[in-house]
């Protein structure tokens, strides 16, 4: 089986009856099937490229940001921090370049 490393995850690519099966290596070393019965009609080298492209589509690299959750209070002792309240009139959006930290 060929291996493919992408986004800190190892994938194994095997071939059965002319079709590819892609496995994802889990943290405990076991395997999960990403897809099976793939790319029968393409050459060996193309199949590898197709496998990599499919893995990149199924497991995209990205950052998922959530928040600020203005409804979620954080208590530190007696202090209740609820913010930032982006709807408050004193909340300032700073969208200018800083001279100290140019973009």
């Amino acid at each position: 089986m060929k291996t493919l490393r992408y986004n800190d995850t190892d994938f194994l690519i095997g071939k059965t009856d002319g079709k590819l099966t892609i496995y994802r290596v889990l943290a405990d070393g076991s395997h999960a099937v990403v897809g099976t019965g793939l790319f029968a009609d393409v050459s060996e080298s193309q199949a590898q490229e197709c496998a990599q492209a499919l893995v990149e589509t199924i497991f995209p690299v990205g950052v998922h940001t959530v928040g600020p959750d203005v409804n979620h209070p954080h208590a530190i002792g007696d202090i209740n921090i609820v913010g930032p309240d982006v709807g408050h009139p004193n909340f300032v959006y700073w969208n200018q370049d800083s001279t100290s930290f140019p973009r």
């Binding site: 079709k19 019965g37 199924i58």
Partner: protein, 264 residues
């Protein structure tokens, strides 16, 4: 359309009705893309399909996200070269009556929250819309024969405690008529749309419920049992193969008889 060698996309394919549909089509020689929120459910179902000799891929995604919808359509076409059938089976429930009263005072003590309302509308209605829309786009642009299958529910008639769910499923039940009418208007003649409205089905949600309550439900079902998920899959299989089925939502309930057309 033949099931064998057709490509199927099944949202909610990691459990319940979606899992049964995915496995049914894989068993019949279809190639299946399974979409679900839960990676461990996807891994299990794709693994079981492979063990049974079928062909499948799994994509973890949120059906309410436009970006995710694009991603799973792209992945399906990248893996199997086309897309023929999209089954929008992903759905959730968040049951509550709109108002609850305090027994002593008779005043309102609790309301159906916006969170519960919105979550169901997002998943069951918007998620279905996004899947069908983008699947149809791929089918039209690819020139592939296709079938769109929104999953409604018999509770589209109005289920007490499910204002959110019944509203979403009533809207979903209308989709085939509107979509097919628009396809006719636009000259899209090779893509059909048939909705399925299941009755009470033997998913873990129902089989795990209070058995007395389940007995009450079954008292209204003519065949005296829950519908098996595989029976729904067989109905969808029939819709794939029978090209005359189009522009309608088909109920499969085992003969559910509700007094006054309103569920309990």
């Amino acid at each position: 359309m033949e099931i064998k060698d057709s490509v199927f996309l099944v949202t909610g394919g990691g459990s319940g009705i979606g899992e049964a549909v995915a496995k049914f089509f894989a068993e019949k020689g279809g190639k299946v893309a399974i979409v679900d929120r839960q990676q461990h459910d996807i891994d299990r179902v794709v693994g079981e399909i492979m063990t049974a000799g079928g062909e499948a891929i799994g994509i973890a995604a949120d059906v309410t996200s436009e970006a995710d919808t694009t991603r799973y359509i792209l992945a399906t076409v990248a893996a199997f070269g086309k897309l023929n059938v999209a089954v929008a089976a992903a759905g959730i429930i968040r049951d509550s009556t709109m108002l609850s009263l305090d027994k002593a005072s008779g005043k309102v003590s609790r309301k159906l929250t916006l969170e519960k309302w919105q979550a169901v509308i997002d998943d069951d209605l918007t998620g279905t819309f996004l899947t069908l829309r983008d699947a149809a786009e791929a089918m039209v642009n690819g020139g592939w024969e296709g079938l769109l299958v929104p999953i409604s529910s018999v509770n589209k008639i109005g289920q007490i405690g499910q204002l959110n769910y019944s509203s979403a499923k009533a809207a979903v039940a209308l989709m085939p008529k509107i979509i097919v009418g628009e396809f006719l208007m636009r000259g899209i003649n090779n893509i059909r749309c048939v909705g399925i409205a299941p009755g009470y089905t033997a998913t873990p949600m129902l089989t795990g419920m209070n058995q007395e309550a389940l007995k009450d439900i079954l008292a209204d079902v003519h065949i005296g049992r829950l519908i098996e998920p595989r029976e729904l899959a067989q109905m969808i299989g029939h819709c794939v193969e029978n090209g005359a089925l189009n522009g309608t939502t088909i109920e499969i309930t085992g003969g559910l008889c509700n007094a006054h057309g309103i569920a309990k």
